[in-house]
Symmetry: C2
Subunit: 162 residues, 2 copies
């Protein structure tokens, strides 16, 4: 598996990964009916950088974006989002993407990484981020409208990178 910067030719495969994640409405706050153009803006155009994990057999396996979480005096804390293809689950792709993103964030001078809305029912993600050094620093009551479960809590997770 290689992790490298996103290339415009990755988009069709990346959208095929992200679309079912967003449509499911269980992990990301993006509107489930988000358009392809809006998704591309959110994942590729607006962030500072986007990376993809690939292998030569399956092409794009997953991706993350990296961006400052706040403007100006808060822009030393970054935010990332991760997505992994359904068919590539269980191979440690998310782990590798998160490790890569932390190194990349450090390299770019960020002091910390913050996840603003980790859906509490997304237990696999919470466990993974904790294993990778993130702490739950806050709980937001009913902050996410889960498509299956209705209003559920979300966590703010945070890691100092220094």
């Amino acid at each position: 598996m290689t992790i490298r910067p996103y290339d415009a030719r990755d988009w069709p495969a990346l959208w095929a990964i992200l679309q079912p994640i967003f449509r499911a409405g269980e992990t990301y706050p993006f509107a489930p009916d988000i358009s392809e153009a809006e998704a591309k803006a959110a994942w590729v155009s607006r962030p500072l950088a986007t990376y993809v994990a690939t292998d030569e057999y399956n092409g794009v396996l997953g991706s993350y974006y990296l961006k400052p979480n706040q403007p100006g005096l808060g822009d030393h804390v970054c935010n990332c989002g991760y997505g992994v293809a359904e068919a590539a689950r269980g191979r440690g792709v998310a782990t590798q993407l998160c490790i890569h993103s932390q190194a990349e964030a450090r390299r770019r001078g960020f002091h910390a990484m913050q996840f603003n809305l980790v859906v509490a029912t997304n237990e696999g993600a919470v466990r993974l981020w904790r294993r990778l050094g993130f702490e739950i620093v806050g709980r937001l009551p009913q902050a996410f409208r889960h498509r299956q479960l209705g209003f559920v809590d979300a966590f703010v997770m945070y890691k100092l990178l220094a």
Copy 2:
């Protein structure tokens, strides 16, 4: 004191209030050298609504903006920012603005209000938001570069409106 929707003619007075707040770099993450156009976009154009507190003697005394804190499945939680003129401090303007914003948020169907980055050294604001029903739900280590104090912690504060 009257609180009413922002009108385009309020901008010069509002900018005279916001500019020293942003330039000080002690409470908002906006870049201290933010341009007038960027400030207007952040306070007036991008939010869902902006309100001003005025009286007939001093004109605009303070203001707040209201917007969804997240897209899609997180857009039932709103976010507000408040600013009060230096000369109008101590008159309860921020209290009245916050009470108004909570009513306005409820009226528009929001379920909760979240402040993402309340600078921990801004003790007056923390005390005020707590008095008005907000809880500190998270602490973000070193998440704010205070212009005088360097890296300081920030709080995530939250209130269910239902």
